[in-house]
């Protein structure tokens, strides 16, 4: 396959950055998109050029580290996958592929396609846990959790923190990410003790980090590799109002 890549290159946070063009001739359909980038990078090394910096780790769609905007879509043209799960067979010979980093004020570019997503960690820091220490747990089956509750908590908990929701959202809202975490814990009996504090503090931190507000375009749930539903955001709003009234 012959592919023309148009890739965002930016030396550092202060650099202005620009799209640069690279043509690669010897790609195959079996390659994953990231392997195509690996391949391009090896060619760049041999040409004595600096490689394109991009993030990746597990390469099986679970760690959430990879993620770039490909041809105008977070994680590429296919719905609900990660960048590492995208394969070159989804493109045609001769295609031009635009590759850009996640764009959001709260995700500043570090270099090329790598952005800083530590804002997510700080949201987590503000309540995405249950405040009990190791060693103080009661017997696991002492507190039965109905299957439906466990399942809905699991649906929300499956978020891998890749940031595609923020990247694709026109407002760079982190509502899907934050709500998934809140609903995971607040749905479970273990999370009840801190439910109001959790929702208030995590949503407040979301604003402090500079994420925009949700306007329900629904783009996030289409790009989310874990199919997390936008209904979570509505649920978070309900919880926040409840917390404001009762908390």
């Amino acid at each position: 396959m012959k592919i023309k890549f148009k890739i965002w290159r930016q030396e550092g946070p202060e650099d202005k950055g620009a799209i640069k063009e690279y043509t690669v001739n010897d790609l195959t359909e079996e390659m994953s998109f990231l392997e195509a980038l690996d391949h391009l990078n090896e060619q760049l090394v041999l040409k004595n050029e600096e490689v394109i910096a991009f993030e990746h780790d597990c390469r099986e769609g679970i760690c959430g580290q990879c993620g770039v905007f490909i041809n105008g879509r977070a994680h590429g043209p296919i719905n609900n996958i990660t960048t590492c799960q995208l394969h070159m067979r989804s493109f045609n010979d001769g295609d031009t592929i635009f590759v850009e980093p996640w764009r959001a004020k709260s995700f500043p570019v570090i270099k090329d396609l790598i952005v800083d997503r530590s804002a997510f960690d700080r949201i987590i820091e503000h309540g995405a846990f249950i405040s009990t220490n190791t060693g103080s747990a009661p017997e696991a089956n002492a507190l039965p959790i109905p299957k439906a509750v466990a399942e809905s908590a699991m649906d929300a908990a499956s978020c891998i923190g890749c940031g595609a929701c923020v990247a694709t959202c026109k407002n760079s809202s982190a509502a899907l990410f934050t709500s998934a975490k809140i609903n995971h814990l607040n749905n479970l009996p273990q999370g009840k003790a801190e439910e109001h504090k959790r929702v208030e503090e995590m949503t407040a931190q979301m604003d402090i980090e500079g994420f925009g507000s949700c306007t329900f375009t629904g783009a996030c749930e289409v790009e989310c590799p874990e199919n997390i539903s936008i209904v979570n955001i509505a649920e978070m709003h309900a919880r926040l109002m409840k917390a404001k009234i009762l908390g």
Partner: protein, 636 residues
């Protein structure tokens, strides 16, 4: 130096409590003054860092990823074992201990393995309390399923995401302590050297992966939780960034490396499809519950799988192991697949795979049942390969997976360097020569949450009296200088081949000679070849970009330089162990029908290698079986 495993006195079931009774304690006011470095933020690292911080220690935690949540613990799909006996099927701590010891082919310590089983039940309590959404029955109690080669149901799971969910719990707990200012978290920092002062681990040198700056960190104890090293094979089920550098640097500073050749090859991964492939994705072992494995009877059969009639298919596992069939343990299933592929019966584009067929199961149980059981795995398979496995068989292939080997640790999880601990996959402790499915999450968590926080005090109590060295200490100077020179040397080579090229070459040698089956001449040849690769690497590698910036090529080169050296040691260890046990299969030591021959009289020990001026010196820790009698594994 003699290896003291420090196994406590007493009956098997009393050893851990006896240990705790006799270990020294530190009062809370003093804990604040003690600083502990934890390298790695997976289940072991995050569990340890958060628990140590809760106990009052001052903790610094490091990871190379952008966030602690990325650690490769996330990738474990299947589940976590615990001897809860919720299913009322006769499970017990003892049975779990025995299964683990036997699964590891009697190459681990009884006391360690028993403790693993003993602490498994409270661990489930802990994770439930932390909000892990484990699968539940309608009545609200926890569900269990069975897993590879055991006869009870003791595996707890959270859909296909058990590892992810456990890590998220650990990560949240860690960030709770970050916010409480008890843990200082350093993401995008890679440990490049260990600082040893007066024989004790006192700090590390890291490289800030964003700025390239080398930094010094001092502490009263250093804990390594850096995971497995199977990326030495390049193609593996591990994350691309997983590496052995931290433990290798520790090894070079004096920590013994135990059983490096014990690496597990997983039978159900997706096959390699191109030279450029970077990773072999694991498909959960649970697929073997209903899938049948076969290859064509005719070499290089050009027909499509569905066009090959029953009589032309060879269900080789069912043929060779009639009683376990497709559920034979990992090492056996992997080896059998390799045997068929090597003999020329492999399928797929590169003739490197075997079929995993669900047709019989779908006919028997119905499509809906199979969808219900494996839906997420089938859709994952389709995402990666584009193939609908409900309609045609999956193609699978063995892939390098878990490393049982790692830094040698005693019962306290301390390495042979005082003050240096190794926890989780990066140590050699509980799995022996082969790890059972769903035991890796368990070991990582137990090491981090329960064991280390209860043993480190025994060392730190005496360190209370010693002043923590300052980072201006000459040893820090020296370590940083050496690291900096190492980097300069790499960048100065400016050769003609990429880092990726050398990794592919190394991976091929390792896969060919030091993976599923090994033999003397192959291993001897491999050592020569790897040494040649090392020389070529150091004279001809090309790395672009500088050291004072984010440079992914430099990161890869630094990791590969260590992998090459580790590869040599792995081959040496495999060569030295003249028996077949667990994942280590020496072709010279097999029965007439191809089964492993273990030699307990000569090899019932843990090999522990010491780095001595560029050479490796073998020490042996004899294994004593006081409570069980090693038996021969048979899955016929």
């Amino acid at each position: 130096m003699t290896l003291d495993s420090k196994i406590p006195e007493g009956k098997l079931e009393d050893k851990w409590s006896n240990y705790q009774l006799n270990s020294q304690l530190i009062n809370p006011a003093n804990k604040k003054k003690l600083n502990i470095i934890v390298v790695g933020s997976g289940l072991a690292g995050a569990g340890a860092a958060s628990t140590l911080a809760e106990l009052g220690y001052d903790v610094q935690c490091f990871c190379y990823q952008d966030s602690a949540r990325r650690a490769h613990s996330v990738a474990a799909q299947g589940g976590i074992n615990a001897a809860k006996n919720y299913q009322h099927d006769g499970d017990s701590v003892y049975r779990m201990f025995y299964d683990t010891l036997k699964g590891g082919d009697f190459r681990s310590r009884e006391a360690n393995t028993y403790r693993l089983a003993q602490l498994s039940a409270p661990l489930i309590d802990h994770f439930v309390q932390q909000g892990v959404p484990f699968a539940r029955e309608y009545g609200g109690t926890l569900v269990n399923r069975s897993f590879g080669g055991v006869q009870v149901q003791r595996t707890f799971y959270a859909r296909g995401q058990t590892g992810q969910q456990l890590l998220l719990a650990a990560y949240s707990q860690l960030y709770k302590m970050v916010r409480a200012k008890k843990v200082k978290m350093y993401p995008r920092h890679e440990m490049l050297d260990l600082v040893v002062i007066e024989g004790k681990a006192k700090g590390i040198i890291t490289r800030d992966l964003v700025t390239g700056e080398l930094k010094r960190f001092a502490a009263d104890a250093v804990v390594l939780a850096t995971g497995g090293y199977s990326r030495v094979f390049r193609l593996s089920t591990l994350a691309v960034g997983c590496n052995g550098s931290a433990i290798w640097k520790a090894h070079k500073k004096g920590a013994f490396f135990a059983a490096p050749s014990f690496t597990q090859i997983h039978p159900t991964a997706l096959p390699q499809t191109s030279e450029a492939q970077s990773k072999l994705t694991l498909m959960s072992e649970s697929l073997r519950n209903d899938g049948r494995i076969w290859v064509p009877k005719q070499k290089g059969d050009p027909r499509k799988a569905n066009d090959i009639p029953e009589e032309d298919r060879d269900y080789y596992l069912e043929r060779r192991y009639p009683s376990f069939g497709n559920l034979a343990p990992r090492d056996i299933a992997s080896r059998a697949a390799k045997e068929r592929i090597d003999a020329g019966y492999g399928c797929g584009k590169l003739n490197n795979a075997v079929y995993l067929d669900f047709k019989t199961a779908i006919d028997k149980l119905g499509l809906e049942t199979i969808k219900d059981r494996y839906g997420n795995l089938f859709s994952m398979y389709q995402k990666i390969t584009g193939i609908d496995a409900y309609k045609e068989p999956m193609q699978i292939s063995p892939a390098a997976h878990f490393s049982m080997g790692g830094l040698w640790v005693d019962y306290e999880l301390m390495t042979s360097i005082p003050g240096l601990y190794a926890i989780g996959e990066c140590n050699f402790s509980d799995h022996g020569a082969n790890r059972l499915g769903a035991n890796s999450l368990l070991q990582a968590s137990i090491d981090g949450y329960f064991i280390l926080p209860n043993t480190i005090n025994n060392y730190l109590a005496s360190e209370m009296k010693v002043d923590r060295p300052d980072t201006s200490h000459p040893e820090f100077e020296k370590s940083e200088l050496e690291t900096s020179q190492h980097i300069d040397k790499l960048l100065a080579i400016n050769g003609s081949k990429t880092v990726g090229h050398f990794h592919r070459v190394l991976g091929k040698v390792m896969w060919q000679e030091c993976a599923m089956s090994r033999n003397r001449s192959g291993l001897e040849k491999a050592i020569v070849q790897i040494k040649a690769i090392r020389d070529q690497f150091w004279s001809d590698v090309k790395i672009t970009g500088g050291k004072d910036e984010l440079n992914t090529e430099l990161e890869k080169a630094l990791r590969l330089a260590d992998f090459i050296e580790l590869g040599i040691l792995m081959c040496m260890d495999a060569l030295e162990r003249e028996e077949s046990c667990g994942a280590h299969f020496r072709e010279e030591f097999q029965t007439e029908d191809g089964e492993a021959v273990r030699k307990d009289q000569n090899f019932s020990y843990v090999s522990a290698w010491e780095f001595e001026k560029g050479n490796f010196k073998l020490h042996k820790e004899e294994l004593f079986f006081e409570f069980v009698k090693p038996s021969i594994r048979s899955y016929k």
